[in-house]
């Protein structure tokens, strides 16, 4: 088999960009603020499901076309309609895409915010991890069973990315640039957030929320804000994930997705956004390499389902990192605000 290196590179980088968003959000939540979000798949899936809904409902309205029911007997017509609009009316496609991003981010942010207040009632801290994990599964089962949202089990196909009108490779490159741009903005945002007084507050809460509270900090509100921010970023990554695949399906947003994101953050370095990027990159490359290896091995006649090896590999990476290098490849630097530099300059100048 000939490997199309350019296409592979584009695919890997696109996945890297999308996964970086998830890793950056988990890094803010757990790495910096200490909130164990085991429901990453939930918030990513909210982005994807929103995409499924806007592409079937909103897109025809924006294009001034009649709504066609996306499931059942009219499925083929509905797919045709979506492809037509996206290919021939780029402006409509972009407006629809932009609105999707905003709606997804807001819904997900509100849900994250609500979760955070809900869990104040929890008796033990790690119950939060369990409630988030289970919350994701409840939403998934509901969406999978309730047809009007995304046609239940069948999912929604032909949710193309907005550059699809360009066709071929230029479309993928353009989309890649958009993904990397969004990831870059999220990275800069989180980097600045951590180096600000807000970052100091989050670190204080991570270390000892009880003391932070007696020093006048509203811990519950701050955690809710962090969940809002993290969930927004996760939902944006979910929209990008769905339009990159061109397909919305509940099976993509399961617990293993959450675990993948945890592997990225633990591998790269908890608390360090650069670590989140590095983790996402390593995982994106490994993911693609195992997929290629699987294909190659099958072609060569090995009767081994190599895709399964991916999960074993990631789990082993996770265990080894937590055991031998819990701070990750890129440990958290000792972040301070620039006040330190000013003081250093002044006191040494005296």
């Amino acid at each position: 088999m000939n490997i199309d290196y350019v296409a592979t590179t584009i695919a890997v980088l696109t996945f890297f960009g999308i996964w970086s968003l998830m890793a950056i959000s988990l890094n803010i939540e757990y790495g910096v603020a200490g909130i164990p979000n085991f429901g990453k798949a939930l918030f990513v899936s909210i982005g994807a499901y929103t995409t499924g809904v806007t592409y079937t409902r909103l897109l025809p309205i924006l294009a001034g076309r009649d709504f066609i029911h996306p499931c059942g007997s009219t499925l083929a017509d509905a797919i045709q309609l979506r492809s037509d609009i996206i290919r021939t009316m780029p402006v409509v496609a972009f407006v629809n895409f932009g609105i999707t991003l905003v709606i997804a981010a807001v819904i997900s942010g509100i849900i994250g915010f609500a979760f955070s207040y809900l869990v104040l009632r929890l008796k033990e801290e790690w119950f939060l991890a369990l409630v988030l994990l289970v919350g994701g599964e409840i939403v998934r089962i509901f969406v999978r069973g309730y047809q009007p949202l995304i046609c239940a089990n069948n999912g929604i196909s032909a949710v193309s990315q907005p550059f699809a009108f360009m066709g071929g490779r230029s479309a993928s490159i353009a989309f890649l640039m958009l993904v990397l741009l969004i990831a870059f903005i999220a990275y800069v945002y989180s980097e600045r957030l951590i180096r600000s007084p807000y970052g100091r507050l989050l670190k204080a809460i991570r270390e000892n929320e009880d003391i932070a509270r007696t020093l006048g900090k509203d811990v519950a509100k701050t955690k809710a804000q962090v969940m809002f921010i993290g969930s927004m970023i996760a939902a944006i990554s979910g929209v990008l994930f769905a339009v990159n695949l061109g397909f919305v399906n509940t099976n993509d947003y399961v617990v293993t997705l959450t675990l993948d994101v945890w592997v990225m953050v633990v591998l790269g370095g908890l608390g360090n956004p650069k670590g989140a990027l590095l983790g996402a990159f390593v995982i994106a490359v490994l993911d693609r390499l195992t997929a290629i290896a699987a294909i190659q091995m099958n072609m060569a006649g090995f009767n081994l389902e190599f895709n399964f090896v991916r999960f074993i590999l990631f789990a082993v990476i996770l265990l080894l990192m937590m055991r031998y290098r819990p701070q990750g490849i890129l440990p958290e630097p000792n972040y301070t605000t620039e006040a330190h530099d000013n003081l250093t300059a002044r006191t040494t100048g005296d």
Binding site: L122, A129, V131, E137, G145, W262, N303, F308, I312, L319
Partner: protein
């Protein structure tokens, strides 16, 4: 017609609930004695089921031998995961989230090794080679031999486990560990040995329940993972500490998944695709509203306090 479906679902609730109880007791034990929310328990169950499958095909179809070997293999897997993974993290004083992640990772490794094995030897969705017989039949329902293995075996095991915990030195030591770890160490309880025995016990429980589950349905690499959250729901209903609470929780979860689901379907047309959500909703509701579960009902009992 409805009556028949109802009785049928009640029987299933009994059967499933007994197995949930066996699995959930393992979760409660690891949680209270070892302070670990062990998601890899799902895969210990699957390992038991695959052992049963392989034994039934190649060694013997005698249920006693099948269950015994399943228990042994699963308990060895449990002990190995303690020695290689969980103990080092405990020594490192890792946070509970790291332990939780580690248990997920162990589960993933076992699960996908089983996937590879099943793929290589074509062992997906196979039935364990135990003859299926009908032992009791009326107009309304049928009881197979599986029912008479699953339910009494579970009940006997649960009783044996309670005796072990309440009447043996090991049980006392496990309870002491559950109560106060540091104190247990100070008063000279051989902590590490008790932990080993707990892991062996937990693994054996999981192995037997996996074998029985496999006899009842069929064996696949995901079978443990599919039920693990139902099992967690049962353990959470038991407050993650009380044995009687956990057993009651197991039957409540099984009853909700089967009988209540059946009624909802029959009366309101609720689709069975929502069935997997039931244990999740139970988990969320219990954790938010009544985190102590049923423990209050069993205050007088000597529950495993955390």
């Amino acid at each position: 017609m409805f009556e028949r479906i109802l009785i049928d679902s009640l029987i299933r609730s009994m059967q499933v609930g007994s197995l949930y109880a066996l699995m959930a007791l393992g979760i409660t034990l690891t949680m209270s004695v070892l302070k670990l929310p062990n998601f890899a328990h799902a895969e210990f169950v699957t390992v038991g089921a695959y052992t049963a499958l392989i034994v039934s095909r190649n060694v013997s179809t005698n249920p006693i031998i099948i269950l015994g070997l399943s228990a042994i293999v699963a308990s060895v897997v449990a002990l190995v995961s303690h020695i290689t993974v969980f103990r080092p993290f405990e020594k490192q004083k890792s946070s509970i989230y790291i332990m939780l992640l580690a248990s997920f990772a162990v589960g993933l490794i076992i699960r996908y090794v089983l996937f590879l094995t099943a793929d290589t030897f074509d062992l997906f969705d196979q039935r364990i080679q135990v003859p299926l017989e009908i032992w009791y039949r009326t107009d309304n329902f049928i009881l197979s031999n599986v029912f008479f293995w699953v339910v009494p075996t579970s009940i006997v095991l649960v009783i044996a486990l309670s005796l072990l915990l309440n009447a043996t030195p090991l049980g006392r030591e496990m309870r002491a560990l559950a109560d106060n770890f540091d104190l247990a160490r100070v008063i000279g309880i051989p902590v590490e040995r008790v932990k080993w025995l707990t892991w062996l016990l937990v693994g054996a429980l999981a192995g037997i329940s996996g074998a029985l589950w496999g006899i009842q349905t069929s064996v696949s690499p995901l079978m443990g993972w599919v039920v693990i959250l139902s099992v967690f729901a049962a353990a959470i209903l038991g407050g993650l500490s009380s044995f009687p609470g956990t057993i009651l929780g197991a039957y409540v979860v099984a009853f909700s998944e089967n009988t209540i689901m059946q009624v909802l379907n029959f009366q309101f047309g609720l689709s069975f695709s929502f069935k997997p959500a039931i244990p999740f909703i139970i988990i969320v509701i219990v954790l938010l509203i009544r985190p102590e579960g049923f423990t209050q009902f069993f205050k007088s009992n000597r529950s495993l306090k955390r």
